[in-house]
């Protein structure tokens, strides 16, 4: 089934039906390749006359399987460290409410990446891309843009509970959680005369009530 022939029999020596089949196939392959390459080009190129007028056609072709983004560190590389921090309000065993301190989840990712030859997507991408996804699907007032925003928020809640759930459970039942991001500019290179404020900026999200859907599969809110 796998042996590749290397016949050098010329196509011209074949019968007419065979030649017709091959010619049709050659044209079909040529057309398919041309369409595919044109779509890939228009997808990665900046928005232009053609992609503006044919946006839907291009999108239908490219999404979902040919989606790509090669603006690697472009047009400008990210110049801020964005840390995602969380805290919770715990219902203690004696019935009181207690707020925990902030835990820096990004710092924990950083520790796992430190001096690691093979960082895992778990630490390098999950929270980082989850947060990017949250920001891109919410407006400044933290309102979701459509169903995607809802999923993005659920994702953040579940990342938080998955990472902190066991730790918090020692102090009580997590009833509400709060997430904030701390953005710190990367200090300019030592030889540069640029001045950048090194004061971190915070984006604080509202408190979220923890629901059963925020917990890892199988876990229940007692």
């Amino acid at each position: 089934m796998q042996s590749y022939g290397d016949e050098t029999r010329s196509v011209a020596a074949l019968s007419l039906p065979s030649r017709i089949v091959i010619c049709v196939a050659a044209s079909a392959v040529a057309v398919a390749v041309a369409i595919h390459l044109a779509m890939m080009f228009l997808h990665v190129a900046p928005l232009n006359t053609l992609s503006k007028s044919q946006g839907k056609l291009i999108g239908d072709y490219v999404y979902p399987e040919y989606e790509q983004n090669w603006k690697l560190f472009a047009p400008n590389p990210l110049q801020q460290n964005i840390a995602v921090q969380v805290r919770a309000e715990l219902r203690t065993r004696d019935g009181g409410l207690r707020a925990t301190g902030w835990t820096d989840l990004t710092a924990r990712d950083g520790q796992a990446i430190h001096h690691n030859l093979l960082p895992s997507h778990f630490q390098q991408n999950q929270l980082r891309r989850g947060w990017e996804n949250y920001l891109s699907s919410h407006n400044e007032q933290n309102r979701p843009n459509g169903a995607r925003g809802e999923l993005a928020e659920r994702y953040i809640r579940r990342i938080v509970m998955q990472r902190m759930g066991a730790e918090w459970a020692e102090g009580g039942q997590a009833e509400r959680i709060q997430v904030r991001s701390q953005t710190t500019p990367v200090s300019p290179p030592p030889w540069s005369t640029e001045k950048v404020s090194d004061k971190p900026e915070f984006r604080v999200l509202p408190w979220w009530q923890v629901t059963a859907a925020d917990l890892p599969e199988g876990a229940t809110t007692k």
């Binding site: 796998q2 590749y4 029999r9 190129a45 290179p189």
Partner: protein
Amino acid sequence: MTETRLEQAVGRGFRLVTDRAMAPYQTAVVRIGFAATWLLFLLREWPHRAVLYGPDGPWSLGMARRMLDGNHAFSVLTWSDGRGWFECVYLLAIVAAALLMVGWRTRTMSVLFMIGVLSLQNRSIFIGDGGDNIIHLMSMYLVLTRCGQVWSLDARRAKRAAARNAAASADSGAEGAPGRDLPGVLLWTVLGLALATAELLGCHGLGWFEDGPFPNLGWGLALWILWAGHGLWWAANRYAPGEPRTVLDVLAKLVHNGTLLVIMVEVCLVYATAGWYKIQGSRWQDGTAVYYPMHLDYFSPWPELSRLLGDSGLLVMLLTYGTVIVQVAFPFTLFNRRLKNVLLVAMICEHLSIAFLLGLPFFSLAMIAADAVFLPTNFLTWLSARISALRRRLFSRGGPARPAAAPGGDEPEARTHGSGGGHTLVG
């Protein structure tokens, strides 16, 4: 006069793409490179597999289903909620990647490899990065290329069968028909049954005319076409070795060569996009861009080293400008063989340093595998000869090692000295 010249050109082009499956070594390297990258990635993530793609992940299967309902991406992981199904798919993805790497049943394994890649990546679309993106694309392209012509167990088996045939025909005077290939038939039957079962159970994403790799071609139909194609090729080999087999062979070469072009242009698009967008950035203009990624918490596994490199403004600027120049220039250098090879070396070195410095080993490996489609055939056959010699020295103790065979040995003719513009691009 001009018309006949045009006709001649078309005729030459037609002969070129129907004559042979081009770049056998390059496509083999791309196959080995991507299969190895994905295999190593899956093994590395083994401890985290259930959190990244499985039932323990914060991106739950329910959320994944809602996402896939919206974007119509393909994933067999949505077919069942069970942990067993997930473990099964993850294991099969590992096995398919390993077998594709060594080239055992390359055509079949390339399909299973693609299903593994698409299923895992589409299950958790917010887990990947640029490396996953290029693996995703290449896994689909590899299905349509004859990437097992050399450096594969398939090629070795074909060579042995040919030798056996030659010996048999020398004995009896008649050419023996190709063997029945029982493992191949079994594999084909099992996979056909599996696909039929999935269709009968109404599994998600196997439509015939919608949500597939090409407009109006669903994943269900696409997989059936591949399956039927493999069967047809086997039947033609066994029962119709004359013209039908030749026609199928030419069709496969056509598809291979078309897809090879797609792969090459895709790599150019990656670099062109990366380069041209960088030119517009102020940090790439003022020569400081390279400094910043090295000082992000997520991309600085070796902060001491990053600090050391970042201390020299001149070095950072040279790296920044060099990166942009190489990326923008690369597609244009393809028309000059020597220049292309120089840039190729530069890009591979840059990716190796990114692998280490920014902690992106799998991204870098994937990009190097993609670059490999432009490696010169001379270099690849030389490498092949060195590896064969090394293997002989290691595995044949006693007696002096036989002199190394000519580069390439019995493998398809390398054709590095052929004329025509094509060889600058692929050779």
